[in-house]
Subunit: 482 residues, 2 copies
């Protein structure tokens, strides 16, 4: 027997304090969220991981549709000549494009890029579809995979192929495009905070950090449990950069031809990485109820005793009818102890233990994954009480994360403080706005994340640049980025 | 002004009787279902087309989950060495694979196939994941795009890239795998008939028509309005063909190593083509209510008159609350006549006209796209009556299609009858089971679709092969295929 079964124990997870990166890898592998693929830099999203993505998709997709966005599907291959039309864009993406050069037995005359993003092909079609101002706005989105030939990869955070959505919109006026750009960032923030329990800083990226071809890029930045920043979503205002390159003109109300204003925005399976590294602890995942594939796990204790299985099934049916995602762990191949650990490892928000003694007393034991608290609940009130309990878990996870984030965000007034702050979290600093200072700070501390909050006046806390000491123009968050 | 607006008229659709193929192209372009992409053989699925696909996905996905299937995501690129492990399979697919040979600036050491289908990479991972019989069955599905470098393409029917789902399952026994193969065909049939209103013949493909590497392939065949067959879904039983090539072994109950039994099954955006060509008429699409993105369109007549817009909005709100997908066509840039035509072109199942005279009498006019009938309905009963009306439209479309299909299916007893029958529909024939006869018939009449119904005894209607006159072994449908 070459193969051994490894199901009867929960394997050791490296503590976060010992090696955060190893902890992350342990968690994603042992929970079965994903696996390494036999293709360089790619991952396989396994059922538990994909079920989280489906929850995220459903929540976002409903919001996009409420905003009047329509879903479409564009080809995954983009001819090189289309990519080349916008100079900045191609410069930004060319180094990480995977190229199709052969189709069947034929060598192609023109290379085809596996899409790294789809602005170029959307623009090509917008140019064909738009005639007059009456056709505007066009607000499209697609759910698809994209490919970026990355050198160093890490599951969910940076892989050669990943799943995402990309919204592409065109508008008749600059104001409307800017409104869309900021509005979609709000949609992302609301979903991150209310659904994924991820507190985020939203703001504008520095010019240096803009998307290739954009006039302005905005992002939401989440803080991971090791203090690093994760860019969790971006929106871009292209102005007329692309519409000039791709000739997207429309006849305006005055009968004149005018270039359309354009935006794009995207989030990806990175969000799963953000959820893991924001909420996870040394026992494994902790999933916010709104995105947990299983919100409640029922564990029969001493399942051979009369009435236990029946009580579990009845409870499951009731909870299911109340719209709760619930399962009974009725495996007879693993021990109760294994099931307890497995439930915690997988981050299931609430666990209900149904045992013979409790059952005699008409109660069950309920365990909360967020606080690790156990309480007793009358079995006939579980269904009634569960929605509020899940809401409370959702809220608590957000508050824990927000408290951590706030405690690890430091207003810094000199370069040493900045260097120290980005070791454990975000440094909020005053900045002259010059790229020289930005580069120096990035170089020195590996502070690869820079984001300027909205409402600058309200955030302002000094007059001099943290780096050069000259007049400060901007408030900016620095952090080490994933 | 180089650009002209083309919105104020519905362009001419070529009648089906004149040129069915041109009719098809006219319909998909004028309804905005899809457009040709600036990439060879690829299409862009536009909002209306994609919304139909989302309905199909939702219906199928719910059924897959009820069957215990879990969704996953596997990489789109497959190393050539993985593809090469199963000889028949690679032979079948190699001629139509698109190859990635460059990643960024680097020339790859091994070519990567853009997946034409994913058996090879699923098998590679199954081999890693499966240890004992307790891990079985594994029933996975993915929604993704695949690429097959086709020479002659037609939107939805045959494109170089298309969207589909591919289910991949492994089982401990041959019986269970066969059960899964037939069960998923049933799921497809049920969805085709009840959701898409497509009557289908289900059965087994001839050995010659099997999927590359399969032991048996089953399909559902729908009849298009020109009498041609469209293979609308397939399921495959691989036996242990792949598990032997990819070493998918598990420890069985007796403690012995055993190869897993495997299946796969898929349907694609072809189904949209089937819907168009089964239900469409010379006015355009006719969409079954269950997959129609808009089930009811409300048209205000003389919208400037008092109360009209308010009545429309109220009706829309009521219908929406009743779970009906409804819109008001409140465009003021096109005429009422245009809206009428547009509604019919787009195949919206029911149209409600709200005009001043009707409104005075407390009624509205309801138009059914299936029968082209107009009736009057009290406005305060519309919401109550609409679900039954939509059900009736759904049923009628199915019955119309079934009647057409049955009328164009002919039992043939000689080769001339067969040749005549496949000009306008399906020929049901007795067949000796030899490939020589199959080839001869295919060659002679371009009868590229062959499918053998289940319950052969019940279908049997003769003793001699339609081609060679020898002892018949099989009942089989011949047709020209898309």
């Amino acid at each position: 027997m070459a193969k051994q079964k490894n199901q009867d124990f929960v394997t050791h997870i490296t503590p976060r304090s010992e090696d955060f990166s190893k902890w992350y890898t342990d968690v994603i592998q042992q929970t079965g969220l994903c696996d390494y693929a036999p293709v360089r830099g790619c991952m396989i999203i396994r059922p538990y991981g994909y079920a989280i993505w489906e929850r995220i998709q459903a929540e976002l997709d409903a919001r996009f549709k409420e905003e009047g966005t329509e879903n479409v599907y564009f080809p995954m291959l983009i001819p090189e000549s289309l990519l080349l039309k916008e100079a900045e864009h191609v410069e930004g993406f060319a180094p990480e494009v995977a190229w199709v050069t052969q189709g069947g037995t034929e060598t192609l005359q023109e290379r085809l890029a596996v899409r790294p993003t789809s602005e170029t092909i959307f623009c090509t079609m917008f140019s064909k579809w738009v005639q007059t101002y009456r056709d505007l706005p066009m607000k499209y989105n697609q759910w698809c995979s994209v490919m970026r030939w990355e050198k160093a990869t890490r599951p969910f955070l940076r892989t050669s192929e990943f799943l995402w959505q990309e919204g592409h919109t065109i508008h008749a006026s600059a104001e409307e495009a800017q409104e869309e750009t900021l509005r979609m960032l709000q949609v992302y923030q609301e979903t991150a905070e209310n659904v994924m329990a991820l507190p985020v800083y939203v703001g504008q990226k520095s010019d240096k950090e803009k998307f290739a071809g954009a006039r302005a890029t905005y992002s939401m930045e989440a803080m991971m449990n090791d203090g690093k920043a994760l860019q969790a979503g971006t929106t871009h205002n292209f102005g007329t950069n692309f519409s000039e390159a791709y000739d997207i003109q429309f006849q305006n109300k005055e009968g004149k031809l005018q270039y359309a204003e354009e935006t794009s925005w995207g989030v990806s399976t990175r969000l799963i990485g953000a959820i893991i590294m924001t909420h996870g602890d040394d026992r494994g995942l902790r999933l916010p109820p709104r995105i947990a594939p299983i919100q409640v796990m029922i564990l029969p204790i001493a399942a051979h005793k009369p009435g236990i299985n029946e009580a579990c099934d009845k409870l499951m049916a009731e909870l299911k009818a109340a719209g709760i995602r619930v399962k009974v762990d009725d495996r007879d191949t693993v021990s109760a102890g294994y099931k307890f650990n497995d439930c915690e490892l997988k981050g299931i928000p609430a666990r209900i233990e149904v045992g013979p003694r409790d059952l005699e007393n008409g109660v069950v034991t309920v365990f909360r994954r967020d606080t690790l608290e156990k309480t007793t609940m009358p079995i006939d009130q579980v269904t009634e009480l569960m929605p509020a309990l899940l809401d409370d878990i959702q809220k608590t996870l957000f508050e824990q994360a927000k408290q951590f984030r706030d405690e690890h965000t430091v207003n810094v007034t000199n370069i040493d403080e900045l260097g120290k702050a980005v070791e454990t979290g975000f440094a909020k600093a005053m900045w002259c706005g010059e790229q020289a200072c930005e580069d120096e700070i990035k170089e020195k501390f590996n502070a690869s994340s820079r984001n300027m909050p909205f409402d600058q006046e309200a955030h302002r806390f000094g007059e001099t640049c943290v780096c050069c000491g000259k007049q400060a123009k901007k408030v900016i968050y620095f952090a080490k980025a994933y």
